[in-house]
């Protein structure tokens, strides 16, 4: 469990990091929290010649309110997210989701940007970002661009992030007051990836759902937006029959990969179950709010 040799670089600014990334090209990898990359390198499945550590770039950290958005630096840790009173009051879904990631030590190091750039459907942030309609700021040699979370995740581990680009910031529109949300995650034990998980962000008027987004974790090669299920519940008040149908619609778009967590049938069923529970809870919260 020892990595092969590599060179370590610790740029202090984003331009510095971009220059290194440009100069070193394919031989370089960005190091965020390291809890995916380093173990992979210890098993020698990954042998990059250079690591560019983003950990020393202060401008990549922090959580701030900017107009009707929350801006989060890509290198902000899960620990900081879980303990942010700003997020707790403005974007509780993110706090609820981040608290279910990995374990305390990993949350001290793991970053939201690393989680998203990774493009792993087992990671929790992709679905959370989709449910929150977040955008990502990608900086590259050619400057900066902002892309929507919905559409960012192209396939297993492939995203819109181009080689030479760095994800620097996450922008989340602050949900209207009176929104309800929930992240329901089934896992084997602390520290595990989701067998299936569902993120729901919802608004209601009276008992009727006026806005809802539903996103699914680890049931396909990317996080999925459950649009049919969303369409179904829009404008309706939620009861068990509707929950069953919404769950069925969510299940119908799953293409899970079998593993030690379960076979396709189980994972699909669990996606339905998590969806039903997340919807129910978000609906309750929206109506209590």
């Amino acid at each position: 469990m020892i990595t092969s040799h590599f060179e370590y670089h610790a740029p202090r600014t984003v331009p510095e990091a971009l220059k290194l990334l440009g100069d070193l090209g394919e031989d370089a990898k960005l190091l965020a929290g390291g809890h995916s990359l380093l173990p992979m390198m210890k098993l020698r499945f990954a042998e990059p010649a250079h690591l560019i550590d983003l950990g020393k770039i202060g401008e990549l950290r922090g959580i701030a309110e900017a107009g009707n958005e929350i801006h989060i630096g890509a290198m902000t840790t899960e620990h900081e997210i879980v303990n942010s009173s700003l997020l707790a009051s403005k974007v509780p879904l993110l706090v609820e989701g981040a608290a279910l990631i990995a374990d305390p030590q990993v949350r001290y190091k793991g970053t939201i940007g690393g989680d998203i750039s990774h493009g792993d459907p087992g990671n929790d942030h992709p679905a959370l970002m989709m449910a929150l309609d977040a955008s990502f700021v990608l900086k590259g040699p050619g400057g900066s661009r902002t892309v929507k979370a919905d559409g960012y995740f192209l396939g297993l581990y492939s995203t819109l992030l181009e080689p030479g680009e760095i994800l620097t910031q996450i922008r989340i529109p602050i949900p209207a007051a009176g929104s309800g949300c929930a992240y329901q995650k089934l896992k084997r034990k602390t520290g595990d990836y989701a067998t299936a998980a569902t993120a729901v962000q919802m608004q209601c008027k009276g008992a009727k759902v006026t806005q809802v987004s539903i996103a699914l974790t680890n049931v396909a090669s990317t996080a999925l937006r459950a649009r049919d299920a969303e369409a179904l519940v829009m404008g309706k008040s939620i009861d068990d029959a509707l929950l069953n149908e919404a769950a069925r619609l969510a299940m119908s778009i799953c293409e899970p990969m079998p593993d030690q967590r379960g076979d396709e049938e189980y994972k699909r069923a669990m996606c339905g179950e998590m969806t039903r529970r997340a919807l129910k809870l978000a609906y309750q919260r929206a109506n209590q709010a």
Binding site: M1, I2, S4, R44, D103, L186, R188, K189, T190, G191, D192, T195, D240, N244, Q260, R261, G262, D263, Y266, A269, M270, E273
Partner: protein, 804 residues
């Protein structure tokens, strides 16, 4: 009353048996000053990394060391060819087989040891290991033991294909290891033929791994100058380790020193001698340098001894009242690629024949067939005595199956079959003599504590409610353990009897040092042994030092496994102390000028009967024993050694009850309540006993609810890291409620029985019984472990309880 207080003060000062003395061991551990094998650093020490096979069964066509040897820091690369000259490329196993130290022409399981790279540090060793090029030719693989004995099954062990017998009787197939039987088949069959009711169930104990938090490892250090070999190793059996090394290396045993140091948990994983140890030792002998070899976690789970992998069939025959008349248990045992299974010579299937459990069953027969497969070798006792978990799991499951068949309450059927208090000592049809017990009292105490009737009512109500989102299950386990191997007349390993020893030296000022042949791995020996001595000698436990694990210091013993420390070494300790006490009494009589008969013992002193002012404290006698003022002809000193050969094993028992709530829709099982009553006889340190029970129950929970070492059909590991291999965290682990009764062991000097394994052995069936009970009303009679959400959901799905 003042006298009473004074007596109590003296008593308390000793912190003897029965007191929850805080552990002596903790002082260094809480400061990070433990000394585990990987902490050892010696001048010139090289680090060894093993090159392992990616294939489960393959011929080695070629090994090319060139690139590895060119790697900076790499000193040498050892293969089977290099070990041949010293004839150590293979080693004999305790199971009567041989095991490849480094793969000789063929690999028999995935990640088998193929070569060892020696380098200046672990970084260079890893670099070198990645550069050793091995060409393999894949061979057909057997993963499923049920396929091992098929007529057309590939022959796995070409090296022993001509061996008709691996010391445990004739082999009937090249992949067959042994067939072992016990009991009376005819009588059992007759009982089945005439029974009112018969039940049969196929019951698997899946392949699991003990996974102590510290993996296995050693530092072997051979001095070319003196010819002395010192091996620091994370082992549960330092003395047996030394004996085996002497046999293998032909170095005189007197020139080998094995040091256990601190052991980061063992749970059976640290009983065997692993190839890595042997290669490191040879490497040190060859280079004259210290060699460190330490497993990674993946290596640990994948290659150092697994446990279980028993594919069982249980059958019970009973009358219509649920009284069991006959038992037939069998198991197909997957021993992996080599029979390096650790068992006493006379018990190739360990103590499997304890499978009548706590019940008076007149006719019984059991049989175990062991076979080779392309999986890692071993089969250790994971927090139990060998094959006892498998045996107790079978009987505790089958009695539930029988109860369901008869529509009888699962507590009631146990009552009807228990060995009764007045039947002890009770000899089972397999010949074990259960020393003592009071099973009815234990069970009733538990049922009352949890309001069993109330729980059953709640369960009935929930079953009647179609909208209830959970299934409630109540599991019982009323087990009898068999620990403390064991009497030399039946128990030996490599011909060495399983007695154990204690040497006690008393110093003039009353300080005591005790040395034992056991090896603590967290059980708190330094504390409990000193408490035994404190009570026996009336000297404060705080002044008693206990040493174990250094074979140069401690007397010979078979080590710590099978809960044998208290039953065997605890007895040796008490007996050595009593020898000293007898001598002290003679000195006291001499000093007080009375006869020994006029003296009586009181806490920490001998006093003259009827004349309490006339006494000699033990502390005084310690000093006098080092003077000339002794009875005529008596030698100085207060020292003694005792070698204890137990007359019988000990039989701790318990009654456990578990309540689970199963989420019908996810299959998740929540343990709402677990109540564990244990009876381990005399309780030496209640705090430590409770800690051992917490730990054993947690390991039982891990095995029952999640642990399994999974393979694909090609023998590839599919879950050999801690991502997949289930070790529960504080979040998943249930809260444990503990209770006890005390039924002293009649044949043990202090009446103790051993406890650390009971919660594991008794806990596992209790969890399964609870999970199955949740589905019992739906006709489910058995579910194989592990009861993870995925597997339990499949039963929810099959029974339709998850329909919305």
């Amino acid at each position: 009353m003042g006298n009473m207080n004074e007596l109590k003060e003296r008593e308390d000062k000793l912190q003897g048996m029965g007191t929850s003395m805080l552990r002596k061991e903790d002082a260094r551990f809480i400061r990070g000053q433990g000394s585990y094998v990987d902490d050892i650093k010696m001048p010139g020490m090289l680090f060894g990394a093993l090159v392992r096979s990616p294939y489960a069964h393959a011929r080695i066509k070629k090994i090319d060391k060139t690139k590895a040897l060119a790697c900076p820091g790499v000193v040498a690369v050892l293969t089977a060819e290099d070990l041949k000259p010293v004839n150590l490329h293979w080693m004999p196993t305790v199971g009567g087989d041989v095991q490849a130290v480094l793969a000789d022409q063929k690999v028999h399981f995935q990640l088998q040891e193929v070569a060892m790279v020696l380098a200046s540090d672990r970084y260079a060793a890893a670099d070198g290991a990645a550069l050793v090029e091995v060409d393999y030719e894949e061979l057909p693989v057997i993963v499923d033991p049920k396929k091992a004995m098929l007529p057309d099954a590939p022959v796995l062990r070409e090296d022993i294909v001509d061996k008709k017998d691996l010391t445990h009787g004739p082999r009937t197939h090249p992949n067959h290891i042994f067939t072992w039987e016990a009991g009376n088949k005819e009588a059992a069959d007759a009982a089945f033929n005439s029974a009112d009711v018969v039940v049969r169930e196929e019951i698997l104990n899946p392949r699991v791994h003990p996974s102590p938090l510290e993996t296995c490892g050693c530092v072997a250090s051979f001095s070319k100058a003196t010819g002395n070999l010192t091996v620091y190793v994370s082992t549960q059996v330092p003395h047996l380790f030394r004996t085996v090394l002497a046999m293998l290396s032909s170095i005189p045993e007197s020139k080998i020193r094995v040091v256990g140091g601190d052991i980061g948990g063992g749970f059976g994983n640290k009983v065997p001698i692993y190839p890595g140890y042997v290669v490191a030792t040879v490497a040190s002998i060859v280079t004259g340098l210290p060699i460190k070899w330490v497993e990674s976690r993946i290596e640990n789970i994948s290659t150092s001894s697994f446990a279980r992998d028993y594919h069982g069939v249980g059958e019970l025959a009973a009358d219509k009242n649920g009284v069991i008349k006959g038992l037939r248990f069998s198991a197909l045992a997957d021993h992996g690629a080599f029979n390096s299974h650790v068992s006493a010579t006379k018990f190739p299937a360990g103590l499997f024949s304890i499978c009548t459990g706590s019940y008076a069953i007149p006719n019984a027969y059991c049989r175990v067939d062991a076979v080779f497969t392309n999986k890692a070798p071993g089969g250790v006792a994971y927090r139990c005595s060998l094959r006892v978990t498998e045996a107790i799991y079978l009987i505790e499951r089958m009695i539930d199956v029988l109860a369901q068949k008869l529509g009888m309450d699962k507590a009631e059927i146990r009552r009807r079959n228990f060995v009764k208090k007045d039947q002890f000592p009770f000899t089972t049809p397999f010949g074990w003599t259960l020393d003592s017990g009071d099973y009815h009292t234990a069970l009733d105490k538990v049922l009352e504590a949890v309001d069993y009737e109330g729980l059953r009512k709640e369960q009935a109500a929930k079953r009647a409610d179609p909208n209830c989102p959970t299934l409630m299950g109540i599991g019982l386990s009323t087990f009898t353990e068999i620990v403390g191997a064991g009497p030399t007349k039946v128990c030996d390993i490599l011909g060495i009897g399983l007695f154990d020893s204690c040497e006690i030296r008393v110093h003039p000022t009353g300080g005591v040092i005790a040395r034992l042949g056991t090896m603590t791995q967290g059980q708190g020996h330094a504390t409990t042994y000193s408490q035994i001595i404190a009570t026996e000698l009336g000297l404060p436990a705080s002044d008693i030092v206990v040493e174990e694990g250094d074979t140069d210091k401690s007397p010979y013993g078979a080590g710590t496994w099978g809960s044998r420390s208290t039953p065997v070494s605890g007895a040796a300790t008490a007996q050595a102390a009593r020898k000293i006490k007898d001598k002290a009494k003679k000195i006291a009589a001499h000093l007080l000028e009375v006869s020994e008969g006029d003296l009586e013992w009181e806490i920490d002193r001998f006093k003259v009967k009827g004349n309490p002012s006339q006494f000699k404290t033990m502390k005084e006698l310690c000093l006098v024993s080092h003077t000339g003022n002794l009875p005529a002809g008596m030698e100085q000193g207060l020292n003694a050694v005792s070698y204890y050969d137990p007359p019988n094993l000990t039989y701790p028992f318990g009654a456990y009850l578990c309540v689970v709530d199963i989420d019908k829709y996810t299959g998740e099982t929540k343990v709402r309540r677990f109540y564990a009553l244990d009876d381990c006889g005399t309780r030496i340190n209640p705090m430590i006993i409770e800690g051992q029970i917490h730990g054993g129950l947690t390991e039982a929970y891990a095995v029952a609810m999640g642990q399994q070492v999974p393979f694909d059909e090609s023998g590839n590991h599919l879950g050999n890291s801690l991502m997949d291999y289930f070790i529960p965290t504080a979040v998943e682990t249930p809260v444990w409620e503990t209770d006890h009764t005390v039924t002293p062991c009649p044949h043990h000097p202090i009446g103790a029985k051993g406890v650390a394994e009971s919660p594991h052995v008794g806990g596992i069936p209790c969890f399964t019984n609870a999970v199955v009970d949740a589905f019992a009303h739906l006709g489910v009679t058995h579910m194989d472990m592990p009861h993870n959400a995925y597997r339990v959901w499949q039963t929810c799905n099959a029974t339709g309880v998850n329909k919305r």
